[in-house]
Symmetry: C2
Subunit: 451 residues, 2 copies
């Protein structure tokens, strides 16, 4: 096939104890949740020249079923909040990108723009913001709401939130702070721009009280696979963490989103699509399968059912474990697109509830590949060369071992094939991802200058 000229981009999706839901019970898991444990993972990813490390987030413990929640590591209680954690990592790493998730549903755009701008400055241009919306009812209860926020409202707020944040990041020209000691002029007032935003959800005058950051602005990442999510991404995102399982789904999503960019005056290279992959790597197929089974056997039934209910948005605990998925499940508000992805999988392969939870509990609905380094490199290469991905977000099943496996076994194979870098191309996340540094919309001399 015709080789693509770009190389594969790699993110390390760091989740404590690993992405397998039962990883924390494995004898080889590091159950430590100290900063040092995270620092170790960041160092591993940076030494392997990953583009970025990435942290998911939420603003509520998921305790609807306390008994199930107490039996897993991933109940929404994180050892650290990601913006502070990545800030702490910024001063002890040098090259790797630092991407934190933050929700538009329960944050304020001024505070969020400022903290991510600060992280970009602290890290010398390595920050990224993964914009998510929150359907979580338990989160809503922590922020004064009586009920969860409906999908349409969430996306309307997210659209406006993104516009405010992007606008605030252009508050100052790159060279606004002249610091002329003799002349007594600290900044040039001509290079200051108020946003004066007045919208339905937000009124924000600006300017942001932090200078423009090394990347112009942090890299904007999104994950939304729903209709409004795709439009928001096509308009504003620079990377998407997608969650498709088959090559066909991945290619369709890739073509769909890339095809929407033109309507917003953007080119396909302005947005990188990085599907999650849950790789279980063994030196032989048998070793890989054994590693996987060792984790699967540690899944407690109430945990598997609970996770399935979270992923698919429906409670299956009242149905027989070894029976089929009921065909008349209602579509719920909780992540419609995710629900469809999970149920499509079950129907395609005719799975029982137990089989489905065993399938999805491992990779938690993401693309799972169990095999040798060569087999894993094959499917990555196939998805990359067929325009199903610009790179991948690596979800190691168990930490740090699963990440070490990927780095020691798969990365060298990708390099042998000329698919992955041996040195960082630049010093900022944008430079490594191959993204342009945005011009300040307000700066004198730019076409879009408005003030």
């Amino acid at each position: 096939m015709g080789r693509r000229k770009n190389k594969i981009k790699l993110g390390a999706f760091l989740l404590f104890t690993g992405h397998h839901v039962a990883a924390w019970r494995h004898p080889q898991a590091s159950v430590g949740t100290d900063f040092e444990n995270y620092f170790e993972l960041a160092k591993l990813a940076e030494a392997a020249k990953f583009d970025a490390i990435f942290f998911a987030d939420g603003v509520a413990a998921r305790l609807k079923d306390v008994e199930a929640a107490s039996r897993k590591a991933h109940s929404g209680v994180y050892p650290f909040e990601p913006i502070t954690l990545l800030s702490a990592l910024s001063s002890v790493t040098r090259n790797i990108g630092l991407i934190a998730t933050a929700s538009t549903s329960f944050s304020d755009p001024y505070n969020l723009a400022r903290q991510f701008g600060s992280l970009d400055r602290l890290s010398g241009g390595r920050a990224g913001w993964n914009l998510v919306t929150s359907s979580d009812q338990e989160a809503a209860y922590n922020f004064g709401h009586e009920t969860r926020i409906l999908h349409a409202d969430r996306y309307e707020r997210a659209e406006e939130f993104a516009d405010v944040v992007l606008g605030l990041w252009d508050s100052w020209d790159d060279d606004a702070f002249i610091r002329d000691q003799a002349g007594g002029r600290y900044f040039d007032p001509e290079k200051l721009h108020r946003l004066n935003h007045k919208g339905r959800h937000f009124k924000v005058r600006g300017p942001l009280n932090i200078p423009r950051s090394p990347q112009g602005r942090p890299v904007l990442v999104q994950a939304g696979a729903s209709g409004p999510g795709k439009e928001l991404a096509a308009r504003t995102a620079e990377a998407i963490f997608a969650a498709h399982i088959t090559l066909e789904e991945a290619k369709a999503f890739y073509a769909d989103v890339k095809g929407k960019l033109g309507a917003y005056g953007r080119s396909p290279d302005d947005l990188k699509i990085l599907p999650g992959i849950f790789p279980v790597v063994g030196r032989s197929e048998t070793e890989a399968q054994e590693k996987f089974e060792a984790l699967q056997e540690l899944i407690q039934p109430q945990v598997g059912l609970n996770l399935l209910s979270q992923l698919s948005g429906v409670d299956l605990s009242s149905y027989p474990l070894d029976g089929p998925i009921p065909s008349d499940l209602p579509v719920t508000n909780a992540g419609k697109s995710r629900q469809e992805l999970v149920l499509d999988l079950a129907r395609r392969e005719n799975l029982t509830i137990r089989q489905l939870y065993l399938r999805t509990a491992g990779a938690r609905g993401h693309w799972q590949v169990v095999g040798t380094p060569s087999q894993i490199a094959d499917v990555m290469e196939e998805r990359f060369e067929n325009y199903g991905a610009d790179g991948f977000n690596i979800m190691a099943p168990i930490m740090p071992g699963g990440l070490v496996d990927f780095i020691e076994l798969v990365v060298p194979e990708l390099r042998r094939r000329g698919l992955f870098r041996t040195e960082y191309e630049g010093t900022t996340l944008r430079e490594n991802l191959g993204l342009k540094r945005p011009v300040n919309r307000f700066a004198a001399g730019t076409a879009a200058a408005a003030e």
Copy 2:
């Protein structure tokens, strides 16, 4: 006089280029605003065994008078946001406390509790939150408000905000996360506590989705000198950054606040009072005076007037510079207590407007001492031994030189007098400040257990 058994506590109030309003214009000032510049200051303070470094904050550039604002470094545009900056410093320091300012007026209690809890965990128990309320009209415009928030409303919200944050920090018992791999139990549900707060300003169910932090909770700092501010501090604060100038004022404030603690079931040692001091240190009186004058001469008139207007809450730019302070200035909403402190100073010493701005612009309304190491140690000792202070927050006029002066010249003098430590007493900020580690209000076996 009878010596106090405690020693002096020292905070380093870090403000880029220094606390003197014209410091940035001085040839010896570091005008660098990179992380490395802050790291250098933190290392200096830690090597000198300071209890903590401290950052002020605000959420708006102060641009009402853009011409004046552009002529100074302190226009409310900070190189970094303090929570992210202190997180970055947490991983490259070991002992020093990390205190960040955040306003209850424009933050959300769940997000704030989580980020400070995270900072406390990242730093191994060295975090502090300086709770402030915001009267700043320009800040209000960045958060959807049409006007500034009135004093009474601000404090009502602050009271409830503090209660929510303190409650959320007790969401989990210290030993809630048992991580029993064999038994499959990650946390003990009995050691989880929902807050279920329903108040006028906030509805927050909880729990906070982060484990309890090393200090039980971050140290709560306040500065409010107004009536409601003092009551809130007496009820909840563990340190106060006071801003009194004379010994008599300091002693009166100290006695007043410490006297209020009993009503809240607290003892005087549960709250440390740390006035700000702006020390200009010289090896001789002449050298100190020359250092001070070199900075004063760099103050531009429009900057001095603008700063005075911010501090006193009134605009004096229409009055003759070399005339007296008008006697009929109205009391404004903007920091009534601060306004009184500044105007009292002017009347006490019969200052003109120019003299007042030259007096207040330097230390920006704080207690200014120009002298030899011995003279500065004398006034610190006097204020400490006479129960006007438990320690001091050092506001170096120029960075890093002024901080280096204090550390190299005054700190050894304090040590000779047995007033300041030579080694850290503990590993947490609480241990060094001599504050108790709070018991979880909900924990089984405590008198206050409610669930």
